[in-house]
Structures are given as C-alpha cells and as structure tokens.
C-alpha cells in the first residue's frame, strides 16, 4: 500500500535531484529547469499531504506554486534572452564579471 510517507520520500528525492541539478549544472537554462523540478517536488508533497489531511489548503498551495513557477519562468527567460543577446552564452562560468 502506498502511503503518505512514500509520497513524501519521492518528493524529497525529486527535491534533492533538483537541488543537485542546481548545484552542478553550468547552463543557466538547465539551472532554471532544476529549480522547476524542485518546485514540482514540493507540489507532490503538498498534494499528498493535502490528501492525507483531507484538506484543500495544500492543493491550493500547489496551484499557487504552479502559477508562480510559471511567472518565474516567464521573467527568468526574459532576462536570459537579454543576457544571451549581450553575451552570446548562457554558461554561468562566463558570468563572473563582478566578484570580490
């Protein structure tokens, strides 16, 4: 029987995968995807907990997260496009003009 804890473990695993992605990826676009993965992991957790408590709040939160993730992508991609126009690359190792 698949219970709440299974969902949560899956969620945690996906979250970790996303986190590793954020830490290891060098391409900004991939990095954004990784954060989306993390947010979706959270969504799984919310949905599962919501079901567990039989309470709609969690699902509501999940919807909000989806919405926010979407706008994040919108804004993020916008910035990436200008950046790409300026730099011609999305490799974040090239993005270190400011330091110290």
């Amino acid at each position: 029987m698949i219970g709440l804890s299974h969902y949560l473990i899956v969620s945690a695993l996906i979250f970790s995968i996303g986190l590793v992605g954020v830490l290891r990826r060098r391409n900004l676009l991939m990095l954004f995807f990784a954060t989306e993965v993390m947010l979706n992991a959270v969504n799984i957790a919310f949905a599962a907990i919501s079901h567990y408590y039989n309470d709609l709040t969690g699902q509501m939160f999940a919807f909000f997260i989806i919405a926010i993730a979407a706008s994040e992508v919108a804004v993020g991609l916008g910035i990436l496009i200008v950046l790409y126009k300026k730099h011609g690359t999305l490799d974040l190792d090239d993005l270190a003009k400011m330091r110290g």
């Binding site: 949560l8 969620s11 979250f15 996303g18 986190l19 954020v22 900004l28 990095l31 954004f32 954060t35 993390m38 947010l39 992991a41 959270v42 957790a45 919310f46 907990i49 919501s50 567990y52 408590y53 309470d55 709040t57 969690g58 509501m60 939160f61 909000f64 997260i65 926010i68 706008s71 994040e72 804004v75 993020g76 916008g78 910035i79 990436l80 200008v82 950046l83 300026k86 730099h87 974040l92 993005l95 003009k97 400011m98 330091r99 110290g100």
Partner: protein, 496 residues
C-alpha cells in the same frame, strides 16, 4: 452537492486589502496611461506614483490594529501596519530619484513604475498576512518585479546581477515552498497561528523535533537568502554593484523589512514555542553575518560595494535583535530600519548623483574610493553630507543610526546577552574603518583627476531627497522618542 458559498461582504473586511489594491490599481493605471499616450514624460509617472503611495500611506494608516480580513488570510496587526508604513515611506523617498538631470532609460519606461507599484503591493502582502501561501505569493510578486527592475538598468552588470539574484532567489523560493510543505505536513495548516496552536500541543513528541528541524532550516535558508545573512549573502554585493544606486539603497531596506516581518512571525513563533536552538542558530548567523560582512567590507575598493557589505552587516545586527525575541528586540528592528532607511537611501542617492555613464576612474568600478578623493574641495556641501551619512552608519552619535544601535544593544543587554552587545560594539568599531576610509578620501586627500563634474547627475528633486535624508539623519535625536514610543506601542499591541 456543494453548498453555495455564502460569504458576507462585511466578514471579508475588504478594507484590509485596500492598501495593496491601491498599489496594484495604480500600477495598472500607469500601464493604461501608457497605452493611451506613449510620449508621457517620466516626471508624470514619478508624481503619479508618489500620489498613489501617499494614498496608500493614508489607507494603511487608517487600518485598525489587530484585524483580520479576506477569509482571515490578511492579518493587520501592529507590525504589519508599521512595516507597511515604512515600506511606503521608503518608496516615496526612492521614487523621486528617478528625476536625475541625466537620462537613464529605465525611468522612461512606464513599466518601471508599474512594476515598482506591483512590487510594493507584493511586499505589503508579505507583511500583512500570516498565511504561508499569501506570504509566498507576496514574496514572489515582489521578487519577480525586483529582478526585472534590476535588469531594466540595462547594462551588462545589471543583467549579471539580475541573473544571479534571480537564480538564487528561485532556489530560495524552492526552499521556502518545501519548508511550507513540511510545516503543512506537520500541522495540517498553513496559517501560522494555527500552526503554533497545533505545535504547542505536540511539543513533547520526540519525532516532531526532526520535522521542526527540517521546516525551520528550510525556511531559514529561504529567509537568510532574502535577508542576505552569511553564508547566503553572496548575491548581495554583486547585485548591489550591478543595480542602479537608488535601487540598491531601496533594496537594502524595503525587501529586508518585509522579510524581517515574516521572519518575526515564523521564527518568533518557533522561539516562543521553546525551540531554543532556533534562537541559537539565528544568533550564530547574526554574529557571523555582521563579522564576515564587516571584514570583507574592509578590503573593498568600491564605495558602492562597500556599502553593500555594510548593509549586510547591518542586517546581521538586526538579525541579532530578532533572535532576542523580546518586545524591545522587535522594536529595535523597526527603529533600526526606520533610521537606516534615511541614511542609507541618502548615501546611495549621493552615489547616484555622481554616477556617470562611463567609468572614468576605474575599469571595473563605478564608484571607486579614488573618485571621491578631495571631494571636499570639489563639492564641500556634498562631501559634508556624505560624511554625515558615513558617520551615521558608523554609529557616531548623535546621528540617526547611533540611536538604532544603542537600542539594539540595549535590547541585547536587557535579555542578558551582554556578549552579544560587546560583539556588536566591536563590530561597529571594525565597521568604522571602512566608513572612515571614505571620509578620509573625501576630506583628507587631493583630487586624483581634474574632474569637476562628479556631481554629474544632480537635480532639484535629488537635492530635496538628499536634504530630507540629511535632516532625518542629523535630527534623529528629536524624533527618536515619538518614533520609539509609537513603534513600541504598535508592537506590544500585536503581542510581539
């Protein structure tokens, strides 16, 4: 069969939403105006924004203390009112800085002003709710607007800054969301007051602690990022360097006020529940933040970057006040920011007036120290005012921040954290070095180049803003009393 939802308009208490709605509607109005006529001058938008903010201010002022509204997700308690007021005041001071004598193209976009107003609404939502969902929505609304505002400065550095901020912000958002999920899983609620109730009954369960660990650490990461606490501060210097000076001044105050309010609600709750290690963790972070930021600020070559580190260090100071979790500590947070706001905005405004399109003094920096060498000879009044801001930041009495500092330190002493007060004192001494460095450059050195146009960007509105900041900085001794007593009243009224 679902029952039709029957909600009375009165129980919604929509007036609690009024301030945010004013900002949002105002933003929309600006966008519509732009649709109607594309050639409107930025001064129109500036004044319009100010007007809207004044109305917003009035609406906030009119709110009654300790009210809930809109399905009880809005929480209008003392700290939400004072933080909203501070956010609005800071915004009112900030926005005239758009009226420089030279053109910076972001201000010619009406979108800038619309985004700005949306951002304010976002912050207002953050502080006016104890619902994790609404906080998240407010946080993201504000952050996304802010990323865009930074990027609008339209230089390579500002894009880099925006990307760094954005990426790390996204990660922090994920942490926040995960933290909320854990809290929700623990208690079945995302309303903090309910969370606190549930937790209070279950505090003796051993398994609970691990979950609290998880939730608080996850949330802490998210807010430590927002508050630029060590080691989550790494974005701050780069973003501050990349963004336009006034926006930096704004960023070092307003988002932090909002984040602090949320932190007070969340971590204050944990501390109140008796989770002592949250306090310890916060204190460790606070001390690390003020110290590390200070020593890194020592070696900066650029004034703006130095000020970035300095604001990080100040955030550490305030974090320590938060960790005390006493009414005085909480009052100290707001008092400190209320005073810091003027001085810091003033200082960045001074940088703003010296901003040139080309980097005349250094290949890398806009505002290297050497740019200000002999400033006293070029612009005596400007140098004196800048020096006043620096002295205030260093905590030299009677300038404004001194009062904030002693209030924080007194709060620490009162809670028995004398070592903390001593650490704060020593940090202030270290910090004095880099503020002094600028004063030394301005007053004691000869100008490096024959640049008589350092005050390149000066205009009347900027002078007004700077003048206002100066008066607020110098005359602090006269308004600290009413300010403290108001803040203390509001905060103790809302039970913090």
């Amino acid at each position: 069969m679902l029952q039709p939802i029957n909600v009375s308009l009165e129980s919604l208490n929509l007036v609690t939403l009024a301030p945010m709605l004013i900002a949002i509607v105002g933003g929309l109005v600006i966008l519509i105006l732009d649709l109607i006529n594309e050639k409107l001058h930025k001064s129109l938008y500036v004044m319009l924004t100010i007007l809207l903010l004044v109305v917003d201010f009035g609406a906030t002022l009119g709110l009654g203390v300790n009210e809930r509204g809109f399905f009880d997700v809005m929480l209008i308690d003392g700290i939400s009112i004072i933080s909203q007021l501070m956010i609005i005041v800071a915004s009112i001071i900030f926005i005239p800085l758009a009226l420089t004598s030279k053109r910076f193209h972001e201000y010619s976009y009406p979108e800038f002003f619309a985004l700005f107003l949306f951002m304010i609404a976002g912050f207002q939502f953050m502080v006016a709710s104890d619902n994790l969902i609404l906080i998240f929505v407010g946080l993201e609304t504000a952050s996304l607007s802010l990323y865009t505002l930074i990027a609008l400065h339209n230089r390579a550095n500002s894009f880099e800054a925006a990307v760094k901020y954005f990426t790390m912000g996204a990660l922090a958002a994920a942490f926040y969301a995960m933290g909320s999920a854990v809290v929700y899983g623990l208690t079945g609620s995302v309303e903090l007051y309910k969370v606190a109730e549930v937790l209070a009954t279950r505090m003796n369960e051993t398994g609970l602690m691990i979950a609290i660990f998880g939730s608080s650490v996850l949330l802490l990461v998210a807010f430590a990022f927002k508050l630029s606490l060590f080691p989550f501060h790494t974005w701050a210097p780069d973003v501050y360097e990349g963004a336009a000076a006034p926006l930096v001044g704004y960023m070092s105050v307003v988002p932090k006020i909002a984040a602090f309010v949320v932190s007070i609600r969340i971590f204050g709750m944990y501390i109140d529940l008796g989770v002592e290690w949250v306090r310890v963790t916060l204190l460790v972070m606070a001390v690390l933040t003020m110290t590390m930021a200070n020593i890194m600020a020592l070696v900066q070559e650029d004034v703006k970057r130095m000020l970035a580190y300095s604001s990080i260090s100040h955030a550490g100071f305030i974090m320590a006040a938060l960790a005390l979790d006493t009414t005085e500590g909480t009052t100290a947070i707001f008092l400190y920011y209320a005073l810091f706001m003027f001085t810091n905005l003033g200082a960045f405004a001074m940088l703003w007036i010296s901003r040139r399109k080309k980097k005349a003094f250094s290949n890398r920096y806009d505002h290297p120290y050497s740019k200000f060498a002999g400033f006293i000879k070029i612009m005596p009044v400007g140098a004196t005012i800048m020096a006043l801001f620096m002295l205030s930041l260093a905590g030299v009495p009677p300038f404004s921040l001194f009062w904030g500092k002693i209030y924080v330190m007194q709060a620490a002493v009162n809670s028995g954290y004398i070592w903390l007060a001593v650490v704060m004192g020593l940090n202030s001494a270290i910090a004095a070095y880099y503020y002094l460095k600028l004063i030394v450059y301005m007053f004691l050195m000869e100008p490096v180049k024959k640049v008589d146009v350092i005050y390149y960007n000066l205009s009347k509105p900027l002078m007004v803003v700077i003048g206002f900041a100066t008066i607020a900085t110098v005359g602090a001794i006269f308004y600290v009393q009413p300010l403290v007593s108001y803040l203390y009243y509001m905060i103790s009224a809302s039970g913090y």
